[in-house]
């Protein structure tokens, strides 16, 4: 496979053909923040946290879905990018009711970690305080829409890895919600196999194991990539 040589932050990088900027950066230990990206499922470029600057390009590009091009010059950590990333994280916090202190994922949350990484000590936008449901109709798992960031990892892992597509997104804009089956309570969603892959994939405390209390919801998100890799090697 042909190699591609390009630079990230003045560092010369060699990548395989077809690799994305994010993959190449990670292989070389260069940190680019992500939220909707999850190893093992397709990348969708939805959260915009991995935006990078590319010399000669007027627009910013999401690193997770932008393939490396020979001699490309990429910057991942400029003042503009840092400000945009902090704004994105602040908007995520303002959009739903994220209360770390009483969240099952406190201490194990990718959104909380991102807030630290982007230096968010407070949110400059007005909080929306939307009314959101909590669905605990499933015998094993629950979904708290207060904590959902609409990354669609649950949708993708259910569709692409479990092959079921119980999860999807309904509604638009601020009314968008992840749903199970035809927007039924999760416990009545007949297609759900209760495999728990969505629980593994969720970056926040939105999808959780029932019975978990504050800070108890730890999960190994690498398991998804592990399952996919094991399968690819067998087939």
């Amino acid at each position: 496979m042909a190699a591609r040589t390009f630079t990230i932050n003045d560092q010369l990088i060699s990548a395989r053909e077809g690799e994305t900027i994010l993959q190449a950066a990670r292989e070389h230990g260069i940190f680019i923040p992500t939220l909707c990206y999850l190893d093992g499922v397709s990348a969708v470029g939805a959260c915009r946290l991995c935006l990078v600057e590319i010399e000669g390009s007027r627009v910013l590009r999401p690193a997770c879905v932008t393939p490396v091009v020979e001699e490309m010059v990429v910057r991942t950590d400029t003042g503009r990018l840092r400000e945009y990333r902090r704004m994105i994280v602040e908007l995520l916090f303002a959009e739903r009711n994220h209360v770390c202190a009483v969240c099952v994922a406190n201490g194990h949350c990718e959104l909380q970690d991102l807030a630290i990484a982007v230096g968010m000590d407070h949110v400059r936008f007005d909080y929306a305080f939307p009314r959101c449901d909590v669905d605990i109709s499933h015998p094993l798992f629950g979904i708290d829409h207060n904590r959902c960031v609409l990354c669609t990892r649950c949708v993708r892992v259910c569709d692409e890895v479990e092959g079921v597509h119980t999860w999807d997104v309904a509604g638009r804009g601020a009314d968008a919600r992840v749903i199970t089956d035809m927007r039924q309570p999760w416990g009545e969603a007949r297609s759900c196999t209760s495999c728990g892959k969505c629980v593994l994939a969720c970056p926040t405390g939105a999808i959780f194991r029932r019975g978990a209390t504050v800070g108890e919801m730890e999960r190994d998100r690498n398991k998804i990539a592990y399952i996919v890799a094991a399968r690819e090697q067998r087939w």
Partner: protein
């Protein structure tokens, strides 16, 4: 530099941030050499004084009394610190916001759920009226420093106070200083 005039304020919060402040333990003796505690729920001073150097404000703005006090604090204080998650984000105090206007909420809690003996809390001059939406402090008055945490751990409070005592620019970064929750 003279001794700092320090105040601590308790708005809509659980007092956990003040408890964490007390967790500074023996370092409080060290702190006492640099500050005069001029107003605090721990000091029983009735009127918020003039010319305060630093105020640690715990809690969100949830009622009319908080509104009045925080405006007074802002007018009379040089460095206003939003102290803990309720002050910074609204946090647990703001959990009522998505549930709608406070009157309906109070009615549910004090009348509907109580049965025949329930009545609305009503004590003018004693019970301050709730404001429509609980707000973080910076939505009401300008804030100079944000110290997240529920509560901010004692070492975090100490690190901030040491920076304030040292003078110069205040910089809070990293998990140890700005993790919420």
């Amino acid at each position: 530099m003279g001794r700092l005039r320090l105040a601590t304020i308790w708005l809509g919060g659980c007092s956990g941030c003040h408890m964490s402040f007390l967790d500074l333990d023996e370092w409080l003796f060290e702190l006492a050499q640099h500050i005069d505690l001029v107003y605090s729920p721990l000091a029983d001073v009735k009127e918020y004084p003039e010319r305060v150097d630093v105020a640690l404000v715990e809690g969100a703005v949830a009622n009319e009394d908080h509104l009045h006090l925080i405006r007074q604090v802002r007018e009379r204080t040089r460095v206003l610190v939003a102290f803990g998650d309720c002050a910074v984000t609204g946090n647990v105090t703001a959990l009522r916001n998505p549930l709608g206007a406070p009157e309906a909420l109070l009615h549910t809690i004090y009348v509907e759920r109580v049965g025949t003996a329930g009545c609305m809390p009503h004590a003018p001059g004693i019970l301050p009226p709730l404001i429509d939406r609980v707000q973080p402090v910076h939505k009401i008055v300008p804030v100079d420093v944000y110290l997240p945490g529920c509560p901010p751990p004692a070492p975090r409070i100490r690190a901030l106070l040491e920076q304030i005592i040292a003078g110069g620019e205040i910089r809070l970064t990293g998990r140890e200083m700005i993790k919420f929750g």
